[in-house]
Each structure stands twice: as C-alpha cells, then as structure tokens.
Symmetry: C2
Subunit: 139 residues, 2 copies
C-alpha cells in the first residue's frame, strides 16, 4: 500500500468509528505490485436518456443496471439519480448515475468485456443519448 | 430502508463475500423517514486546474483535500486522478477527483457550510479553473 493510500485508508478507518458499519474499501488489499494498483479503481458513469422525461425508460435502464451489477468483478455498486441540490457547479441534467468500485484496473478491464456487460449494452443502449465516464485511481 | 435500497444493499453484501473486508455503506442505517433518505448521498467533484500541467498545483489541491477530509460529516472519501483508460466516452481531462459519501443530504448540507470546507475554498480556489459536481441519491 502506498503512503498516500495508507493515509487515505487510515483516515477513512478513523471515520468508521463515527459512522457505524463502514469498512474502508479493500482494507486488506495486498501490497501493490504496480503504481496505483493498491487503491480501488473507481468507475463513475452518468447516463442521459433519449426520452429525458420518460419514467419507463429510466426504470428500464435501472433494471438493466441491476442485472449488470451481477458482473463478477464489480466489488461494489451504487445506482443513483440527481439529488435535490442545485448550485451553479452542479450538473443535475443526467438521469442515472452508475458508480462502481473495482479492486484494480484489471478487474475493470475484465468487466468491459464481461458477457453480462455486453448484453446490457445490447439491451439498453437504445435508451440513452449520452454517456460520460470518469475513471479514477488513487493520486 | 426502501425496497430498492435493500436490494442494492443485499447485492453489495453478496459481493462482499468475494472481496475481502468490504462492508456495504451504511449497512445499519436506520429505516428512512423520507424518500431516498435511506441511501448514501454521493457527492462527486471533478477539478480542472488553471495550470493544467503543474504538478505543484495538483499537489497543493490534493493536500487541501486531505485537510478537508477531516470535515466531520464526511463518512468516506476518495481522492483520485484519471485512470489510464481511454475511450470516447471517458472524460480524462480533469486533474483531481473528490468522491464523498455522506449518510444523508443533511450531512452534505452541513459540510457545505463547515468552516473546514470554507477554509479549503479560501485557500485552494485560486488553483482551479473549473469544477463540476454530480450529487446523487438512491433511485
């Protein structure tokens, strides 16, 4: 574990004392062999729907994501929608947020070609007009 | 806990069996009083630097975020940078990713006016040219 990751881990561990039942992600990850391989790989996807106001299409996309969540290399997932916050810097134009934690980049790469993922794209890609992805690793 | 949240929680709990030491976020959150109050509030901020290639400015921003992480209502945080992935849908133009989990919207609201947060903005806002925030709650 790199010095920066260890600091982040310890800080989150400290916060766990204040909030019940939070365990820092990958608390027992093995020491990293490559740079940044020791922190989680965070994959955050925002979807905009073709039919932006369609509750049915949003529900179909969410149902598709729930199926997709069974992809075996996903360590943790959160399906979200815009919160009721509204400031200039906030982009709340998207319909659905899909936040994934992977153990490392290799697991994320495997997810990209997982048949469950390919099936999701086949079944659901007609629903969205735009997708933006932010992939991040430890600094 | 709503039906959807419970499903997400159970799914993540299942995944925890495969990946050591992951506990789903807020596993023991009390039943929600209001809609969507029972899942985490996810606040994901992306920063672009004025001096996009300055390692010093990036390090200053990261140092500022580490100080900011002590804000007491933050349940969990991850400081990131673009991963080495590169596809059309991926935005890798940002410099630093700041992902926060709050127990609920109230905790996020408190964070916005926390003196530690205001101090961070005072000390670090000269470093960035653009900030985009995505706030999300359970669907």
């Amino acid at each position: 574990m790199s010095k920066a990751s260890r600091r982040q881990f310890l800080a989150n561990a400290g916060k766990a004392a204040a909030v019940t039942a939070i365990t820092p992600f990958l608390a027992s990850a093995p020491a990293a062999a490559a740079a940044n391989a020791d922190g989680p790989f965070i994959h955050h996807v925002y979807f905009w729907l073709k039919n932006a106001t369609s509750k049915d299409d949003k529900a179909k996309l969410v149902a598709g994501l729930r199926k997709l969540s069974s992809a075996k290399t996903i360590a943790q997932f959160y399906i979200g929608q815009p919160a009721p916050t509204n400031r200039d810097v906030i982009d709340r134009s998207y319909a659905v947020s899909w936040l994934l934690f992977f153990k490392n980049k290799e697991d994320q790469d495997a997810y990209q070609t997982d048949p469950i993922h390919l099936k999701f794209i086949e079944e659901c890609s007609s629903l969205w007009s735009r997708v933006v992805v932010y992939d991040s690793i430890d600094v």
